[in-house]
């Protein structure tokens, strides 16, 4: 109900979306309810959604070509198995979904957007994205799941591990985002 959406529109076009209320329901509520429906449907059809396990399965598929001896002897790669799993197709769907949704959207996503005040160049954004990507997958594999597997699917199934993971993520995530914002001032 706030009129503040215009102030965000210049620097972050996508951000305006959440302020706009359509037919009384905020956008996050409508899309969130639909997302909950999709994640429940997934559990009914084949299993809970999960994304991060596909990364080591991709490593496994690579190493089975490049270093088959090592790949067969590594207990983690053996445990994670091959790419012929539903999760791989889920990740493929995310890619197509992101592409399709932006194609049919009036506003195109920016190629690059700076996200903290301490991030002052495109090069710094690339560095932060790479470092962030490294840490989220390393952390997710340590925990045995990520935002989708532990937080969404986990808490949906009332799993204690999902609550523990979410507590860790938001504790250090909030702290990190605040420190990086202050660092640039």
């Amino acid at each position: 109900m706030q009129g503040g959406s215009n102030t965000n529109a210049i620097s972050e076009p996508l951000v305006t979306a959440h302020v706009v209320r359509t037919q009384g329901l905020p956008r996050w509520a409508l899309l969130g309810a639909l997302f909950g429906l999709v994640s429940a449907t997934s559990i009914a059809l084949w299993g809970p959604i999960g994304v991060s396990g596909t990364y080591p399965r991709f490593i496994g598929a690579l190493l089975r070509q490049l270093a088959p001896g090592y790949a067969e002897a590594n207990p983690y790669l053996v445990k994670m198995g091959g790419l012929a799993k539903p999760e791989t197709f889920l990740v493929l769907g995310l890619l197509i979904g992101g592409f399709a949704a932006s194609r049919f959207s009036a506003r195109r996503a920016p190629r690059v957007e700076l996200i903290h005040s301490s991030e002052t160049s495109t090069a710094a954004r690339y560095r932060d994205a790479f470092l962030g990507g490294f840490l989220i997958i390393f952390g997710a594999r340590l925990a045995g799941g990520c935002t989708s597997g532990h937080i969404i699917s986990g808490i949906t199934q009332l799993s204690v591990s999902g609550f523990i993971f979410a507590a860790g993520v938001f504790a250090s995530g909030i702290l990190t985002a605040r420190v990086l914002q202050k660092g640039g001032r």
Partner: protein
């Protein structure tokens, strides 16, 4: 068949994540700075709807539940590492794939970083991580087990709690306090 339905589930998720703005690392950073709570409220709504739906549906349908073990040290430590990466990069393992689909250049860097993270984890797993990871393993435990209550009841209570929280919390805390 599972592959096809997983593809469709992923497709729907990709569209929804893009539309709510979760594939924007700037919006993720604003959520983590608590300047805007739209993505946090989106997630809480999704979980609230999902948990009630799955436990209701389980009364009539066979569900493919898969509870992950709560090995406290690894899950909490991994969550803390994940949070730092989430804060620095603004992407999670799924949203960087959606962002790449949208044509974001930094999303590709996050994805490549993730592949290297998976490689590092794979190399360190046997010698270093496997022994520490399973410390304080509580097993495949649910909130319903802890509370000794029926899962459907706990799902309704948790859903109600999440719905109350998202209705009560402002989406833009700074706008309201101004």
């Amino acid at each position: 068949m599972d592959q096809l339905s997983a593809l469709l589930v992923g497709l729907a998720m990709g569209v929804l994540l893009q539309r709510v703005g979760a594939s924007s690392p700037a919006l993720i950073a604003r959520n983590l700075r608590l300047e805007n709570l739209s993505i946090i409220k989106f997630m809480a709504t999704a979980i609230g709807v999902g948990t009630i739906m799955v436990y209701l549906a389980s009364l009539w349908l066979p569900m493919h539940f898969e509870i992950r073990p709560a090995y406290v040290l690894g899950v909490l430590g991994g969550g803390l590492v994940f949070g730092v990466g989430f804060g620095v990069g603004g992407y999670c393992p799924g949203t960087c794939v959606v962002g790449l689909g949208e044509g974001r250049k930094d999303a590709l860097l996050a994805l490549v970083g993730g592949v290297f993270g998976a490689l590092a984890f794979t190399l360190l797993f046997e010698a270093l991580l496997a022994p520490v990871m399973k410390v304080l393993d509580l097993g495949k435990l649910t909130l319903a087990d802890v509370l000794h209550l029926p899962a459907l009841l706990v799902a309704f209570l948790l859903g109600a709690l999440f719905f109350a929280a998202v209705a009560w919390l402002p989406t833009e805390p700074h706008h309201l306090s101004r």
